[in-house]
């Protein structure tokens, strides 16, 4: 005897649920990128995408390929820890193509950057102006008391302890 008869709407509801779950699974299979869960709960391809930016600063090694003489000079004096681009500005274009002179690259830089590059003294003052927050071991000057002319009159920038 089969007294209980399943109401027909139950079957419809089950089918509808299956259809919804099924379409979700299909959509997920289509939309989940292949690299998802490659390393974790994120898109593995994102790592490559983030890494695909072009570097802006060329790096000291790139400068060393052609300007090793200056770098050897630099290594002998107090400015040995300085990177070339810390003072000379971004030089990627020049490093990629030496025919593009560093000056040309500077022309393309914005006005503020140009002004910074022209004022040779401002490079020195940026680091060496006295400030009570600066560590005591670091060489600092009070600009007004030190000298009123150009820094480069007495200090060779690549060898600051020598007169140019």
């Amino acid at each position: 005897m089969n007294r209980f008869k399943m109401p027909p709407q139950i079957l419809r509801l089950v089918l509808l649920t299956l259809a919804i779950v099924g379409s979700y699974l299909v959509a997920r299979a289509f939309l989940t990128p292949a690299s998802f869960k490659q390393y974790g709960w994120y898109r593995g391809d994102a790592l490559e995408e983030i890494a695909s930016r072009t570097p802006v600063y060329a790096g000291k090694k790139a400068c060393d390929e052609c300007h090793s003489e200056i770098l050897q000079k630099l290594a002998k004096d107090a400015h040995k820890t300085l990177s070339c681009e810390a003072c000379h500005g971004v030089s990627r274009l020049h490093a990629d193509n030496p025919n593009i002179h560093a000056g040309q690259e500077k022309e393309e830089a914005d006005e503020a950057e140009q002004a910074r590059i022209k004022l040779t003294g401002s490079h020195c003052i940026r680091c060496h102006e006295a400030n009570p927050s600066r560590p005591a071991w670091f060489k600092q000057i009070v600009v007004k008391e030190h000298y009123s002319g150009k820094c480069t009159e007495c200090h060779a920038p690549h060898q600051p302890n020598q007169v140019p």
Binding site: Y42, R43, P55, I125, N131
Partner: protein, 274 residues
């Protein structure tokens, strides 16, 4: 019952199988076409993130507050103008204690005008919050993403856009980020911001496009005093600067009580630094 093997039935079965195969291959093609949207090229080949573990060490005693790092970071990573920084310099000024109050030290002032980047050629920190003779201690602290091992920011991302890469970098997938800002609130070090142009969250990537090419991050590259030291724990050279840093300094991390286990290590940190 005798099985009927009719021509019609056989053809229907074969047709069904062919149609099934066709749909499967069509589905694969469609899936590949959909996923093509996500795939890009131009990234450096031969970089395996599982074979590196990046680490940043900062010597507070060496930072002179020139702001070159913060400036280079903005240029390198195309960070928008204004109060948006992936790395910045903070100045701490601790005053002398007032006599008779039984205190070890006075007030602490922290500021970071324009992230430490000078405006108009002069240094950013030329103005002091208190007269010079009242200062007991003053120093600069460079800040950046702390590369947490247990990063609170990636745990809250609802769309899987913020993640810890296997090489230790904490990154954001710009295509997945919906700009909800949860991660910005979750970061205890304030290292994230919402880019006003792309409307997605941004942060220090350790210059991921540089380190994957064997270059140093821009901030480390331009730092004039080597206050920042960067290295790879899985590929340590015998005379690695990181090894030297460990040997010469006692190190501390920011907010150790949070258990985030940062991989940005500080030497010479004062207790006032948060």
């Amino acid at each position: 019952m005798k099985t009927q093997f009719s021509r019609r039935g056989a053809l229907a079965r074969i047709g069904g199988a062919v149609a099934g195969l066709l749909t499967m291959s069509a589905a694969r093609k469609a899936k590949a076409a959909v996923q093509k949207v996500f795939v890009s090229s131009g990234a450096p080949k031969g970089y395996d993130p599982t074979k590196h573990k990046w680490l940043m060490c900062i010597d507070v005693n060496k930072c002179i507050g020139c702001g070159l790092c913060a400036e280079a970071c903005k240029k390198e990573n195309n960070v928008p103008e204004g109060p948006f920084f992936r790395t910045w310099i903070e100045r701490y000024v601790i005053t002398k204690p007032k006599p008779g109050l039984g205190e070890t030290r006075g007030e602490t002032f922290v500021d970071s005008p324009n992230g430490g980047i000078p405006i108009g050629g002069r240094q950013a920190f030329s103005e002091l919050p208190v007269p010079k003779d009242q200062i007991e201690h003053s120093f600069f602290v460079p800040k950046l993403c702390n590369l947490c091992h247990h990063s609170p920011c990636t745990q809250v991302c609802p769309v899987g856009a913020a993640f810890d890469a296997p090489d230790g970098a904490v990154l954001i997938d710009p295509k997945y980020c919906i700009g909800c800002g949860f991660c910005i609130q979750a970061c205890p070090y304030g290292c994230r911001f919402l880019n006003p142009i792309t409307k997605t969250a941004e942060k220090c990537t350790l210059c991921y496009h540089r380190i994957t090419r064997g270059l140093k991050p821009a901030c480390v590259e331009v730092c004039p005093t080597q206050a920042r030291i960067f290295g790879d724990l899985k590929n340590l050279a015998p005379d690695d600067p990181i090894q030297k840093f460990y040997e010469q300094n006692l190190v501390q991390v920011l907010k150790p009580h949070l258990g985030t286990e940062p991989r940005v290590l500080y030497a010479g940190l004062d207790k006032e630094v948060r």
